[in-house]
Symmetry: C2
Subunit: 314 residues, 2 copies
C-alpha cells in the first residue's frame, strides 16, 4: 500500500517557520526534491533565510550525493504542493482549528498512499485528524529544534491511524537520516519535551523564588550535566556511574533520595516493578559491555565534545 | 587571611571514590601537588584505577605545565594528609555523622587559613560544619560527575561560613580550571542537580506508567535536547528560538502552555515579576548580539559537537 521507503524522492514541507523551514533544509540536504508550501508569498524571504542559515551547518555535516538548493520549489498553492508528494511533513501553526481544517484538505488533495506527518509539539493526532477524510495515513513526527541538526523524531498515531503508517514513518525517517522513536502511548508533550519541560518548570520555580538567575540556570546546565547527556542518557549515566552494581545499586542505595526535596516534582513510588523495569532496561542497553568500557567510552566522547565546543568558540 | 589563590600549590583530596579520585586527577592535571587521603590501604587500588582512567582523558584535554602523576602522595594518616594543605577538597561518604566527625577533626588539623570544600550533593554546610571548631573556612564545592571532565562547581557556605571563604573558593576554582557558580541560597540539590532530578523523576514516572522505556528516555535525550543544552542553556535556547522577540515572546505566547500537563511538575504562577526576571536575565546574557548571530553560533557549536561524537564513536 505505502511506497518503498527507499523509493521516496519528492517531499512536501508545509510551513514557513523555523520548523517547516528547518525540515525543508534537512530533506534538501539528504538529496530529496522538496516542495515548500507557504501560506502567502510574503513568507518566502523568512523561509529562505531559515533554509540558507541551515544550509551552512548541513554543508559542514556533509550533504548527500546530488543534494542541492536548486531542488527546492516554493508554492502558495496547496493542491499543487502535495499533488505528487511521496511524503508530507506538516509544520503549520500550533492551533487545533488551523490543523484540523488543513488535514480536511490534505486528506483529499494528497495521493492516497502518501503518509502525512505533523511536527506538532502540543496537539495529539487523534484531535488533528478529526476532520480528515483519510486519517489512516496521518501520524505525528515531532522533531526537536533546530530540526536540521537534532536527529530525534517522536512518532505516534492517533485513534484512526493505521499502525502500518507508524511503521512506515519510522522506516522512512531512518532512511532520511533522522533518529525516529516510536512512542508506546499518546502522552502530552511526548518524551523529550516532557523531560525538558520538567527541567524548565523547575528552573522557573528557582527564578521565581530568587534561588537562581537565568544566567546561573544556563551556566549550571552547560557546565554540568549537558555535555554528558549529549553522549549518554540519564538512565545509563546513573547505571555506569554506579560501577558493577549499575542501576540496581543506584535505585537500592539512592532510592530514598527520591523522597528528598531536590526538585518540586514528586517522584513515583519506587515499587519492585519500577525498579526491575529500570534495571532490566539498563542491562539490556549495556549488553555484555563492562561498566569500565562504557565509562571509558563516555569519557572519550565527552572529551571530544568539550574540545569541539572549545574549538568552535575560539 | 587566606592565601593568594595563585600561590596555592598543595591540595589535599579526601576520599577514594569516583568523586575523590576524580578531584585528585583533576588537580594533578592542573599541575598541583596532591595528597590523597584514604580511609584504608585497601582502597588504594580502586583510587588508582579511577585516577589512571581519568588521566587518559585529561591528557587528551591537555595537561598543565609540570603536571605529573608523580606528584601524587597517598596516605591513611589524616593529620599528615592535611598538615601542609593549602586547599582541601572533601569527598567522604554522604553520611552526615561521618562528615560531622571528619570536620570536627579537620577543623583542628588543617592550617587555619586553609579553605575546606565539601563535594556533598545532598547535605548542607550548615549541618556538616556543626561540630567543626573552625567552621568559618568551610564551604560546599559541589562538582558534577565525572569531576575531572565537567567544569561546574556549585559553591555556597553554611550559617557559620565567612563570606570571604566563599569568594576565595570561587576565585580559586576559576584559577584551577573549573567553572564555579556561587549560589544565591542554600537549597537542597543546588541548581544543576535540581534540574537533572526534575528530569529524572519525570523519566521514572514515564517508565512506571508504561509510557516509555529506559532506552527510549536515553534515546530521546541524546538525540533531542542534549547536544543543544551542551552549547546553550535552556533559558537562552528559548530566547534565541523565539527570534527578535526573545524570552518575552516565549513567555507571553507560550505562557499558557505552562498549565498543560506536559510533565508531572506544576509550573509556578507566571507573574509579571517572574516574566520580567526571565526576560531581563536573557537580555543581559545576550547583550547586543542579535538573535541571528546567536543562532548561527549555536548551530556552529552543535555541528561541532555532533561531528565530534560521530568521530569518537567511529
Amino acid at each position: 500500500m505505502y511506497p518503498d521507503v527507499h523509493s521516496v524522492q519528492r517531499i512536501t514541507s508545509i510551513g514557513a517557520g523555523p520548523i517547516g523551514g528547518g525540515w525543508a533544509a534537512h530533506f534538501l540536504a539528504r538529496g530529496y526534491d522538496v516542495t515548500a508550501y507557504v501560506h502567502s508569498d510574503s513568507e518566502i524571504p523568512a523561509l529562505m533565510a531559515i533554509i540558507d542559515t541551515a544550509w551552512i551547518s548541513l554543508t559542514t555535516l556533509g550533504l548527500a550525493k546530488g543534494a542541492s538548493l536548486d531542488r527546492l520549489t516554493i508554492t502558495t498553492d496547496l493542491a499543487a504542493a502535495v499533488k505528487d508528494a511521496q511524503f508530507i511533513q506538516e509544520s503549520a501553526p500550533e492551533r487545533l482549528a488551523i490543523k484540523q481544517a488543513l488535514y480536511a484538505q490534505l486528506g483529499r488533495l494528497a495521493p492516497q498512499n502518501c503518509i502525512i506527518a505533523s511536527s506538532t509539539s502540543g496537539l495529539t493526532m487523534s484531535e488533528i485528524q478529526a476532520d480528515c477524510p483519510t486519517p489512516e495515513r496521518t501520524v505525528i513526527g515531532h522533531p526537536f529544534n533546530p530540526p536540521y541538526l537534532l536527529a530525534l523524531v517522536e512518532i505516534i498515531g492517533g485513534d484512526a491511524t493505521d499502525p502500518g503508517a507508524v511503521q512506515w514513518a519510522e522506516a522512512f525517517y531512518k532512511v532520511a537520516g533522522k533518529a525516529p522513536l516510536v512512542m508506546l502511548k499518546e502522552i502530552p508533550g511526548f518524551i523529550a519535551t516532557r523531560l525538558q519541560e520538567a527541567l524548565w518548570r523547575e528552573a522557573l520555580h528557582m527564578v521565581a523564588n530568587g534561588e537562581a538567575t537565568p544566567d546561573q540556570i544556563d551556566t549550571a546546565l552547560m557546565n554540568g550535566p549537558a555535555a554528558r547527556m549529549a553522549v549518554q542518557g540519564q538512565c545509563m549515566a546513573f547505571h555506569v556511574a554506579c560501577g558493577a552494581g549499575g542501576m540496581a545499586t543506584n535505585l537500592d542505595q539512592f532510592g530514598p533520595a527520591l523522597k528528598l526535596p531536590w526538585t518540586r516534582l514528586d517522584a513515583p513510588e519506587l515499587t519492585k516493578e519500577l525498579r526491575d523495569r529500570m534495571v532490566e532496561g539498563c542491562n539490556a542497553i549495556a549488553g555484555d559491555r563492562p561498566f569500565q568500557e562504557m565509562a571509558a567510552q563516555r569519557d572519550k566522547e565527552i572529551v571530544a565534545v568539550l574540545n569541539a565546543i572549545k574549538t568552535a568558540r575560539a
